[in-house]
Symmetry: C2
Subunit: 156 residues, 2 copies
DNA sequence: ACGCATTCAATTGCGAACAATTAAATGTGA
DNA sequence: TCACATTTAATTGTTCGCAATTGAATGCGT
């Protein structure tokens, strides 16, 4: 009786680490990062750089702001990251002639070519997840919905 | 026909940003961080510091390594973080006398007292999640299971 | 046309996160 | 006991992530 009470209380205590969904998400993000690392090392990319490349492989020659909106990142993060990608000869940064405030990010031939080398990455992640595609899609949709509700509160 | 084909292909393309569960987790973690920030600012804590305090509020006077195992963090992250908590007079760091390699982390009276001030934080997060407790618990369990499978692959 | 707000990227400063290395303490086997 | 491996934190260097600020370009209202 005393034990079951104690157990019940602890599994409901919202101040306990293992009850917090945020820590689950936080620690899962790090776990993903560690799985990605050896795969992305072969491409010479970090995970955030890989995200930027994913955006650019879908649509090229976009302003920094567009990349930021898709990845929920600001210029303080993206400017130095994009300069590193430029130093690696994967992208070119040019001021837009129509709007001199914007910097357009375009892929170099090497940047385009890297897409092929990166083709096997998602499959490796899927394997590491040890989970059916359907389950992962369902989880992804739930997490995205939660994220969007959180972001809505921030804009409030 | 052409349109439905294109749509079907894009929703299955594993190289598309919006199809990647990892980006969902990554961006959700940042969204959580942004929701936590104003709450934790009032406590003078960052989110990782808050996690360390959650661990210490459950059990005090533990070596750095134990904290690292619970949070999946290493000394490269924890040592400077704990020094900042010490500078804020929330914890004390002392070498263990039984094993001089270990540094034991203990709460100061202020560190203990902060637990009360932090009591309302989980409730605020729950409200921002705009989601039932049961749903959050289910999601948390799924994400933890995924994280543990990923971590198992890393140890391989 | 003028003043003024807005937009966009860059910059600065701080706090993670992690790889790789170092150094000291401890444990183990011969 | 002594050599050697292991454990534990600390340190160094690189890259994110974000708040806050700056500065230039653009848009808008009068």
């Amino acid at each position: 009786m005393r034990f079951s009470m104690a157990r019940k209380l602890s599994t409901l205590d919202p101040q306990r680490l293992d009850n917090q969904i945020c820590f689950a998400v936080y620690s899962a993000a790090h776990a993903f990062n560690r799985v990605y690392k050896p795969l992305l090392d072969r491409l010479g990319l970090t995970y955030p750089q890989y995200l930027v490349m994913l955006v650019l492989w879908e649509r090229d020659d976009v302003p920094v702001k567009d990349i930021g909106e898709k990845l929920f990142l600001d210029s303080g993060t993206l400017t130095p990251l994009l300069k590193r990608l430029e130093a690696a000869h994967l992208v070119k940064r040019t001021r837009s002639s129509e709007d001199e405030r914007q910097v357009l990010i375009a892929l170099t031939p090497q940047g385009h070519a890297l897409k092929e080398k990166a083709r096997s990455v998602p499959q490796s992640i899927l394997a590491a997840s040890d989970c059916s595609v359907a389950e992962l899609v369902a989880m992804k949709d739930e997490i995205v919905a939660l994220r969007d509700r959180l972001n809505a509160v921030i804009g409030e």
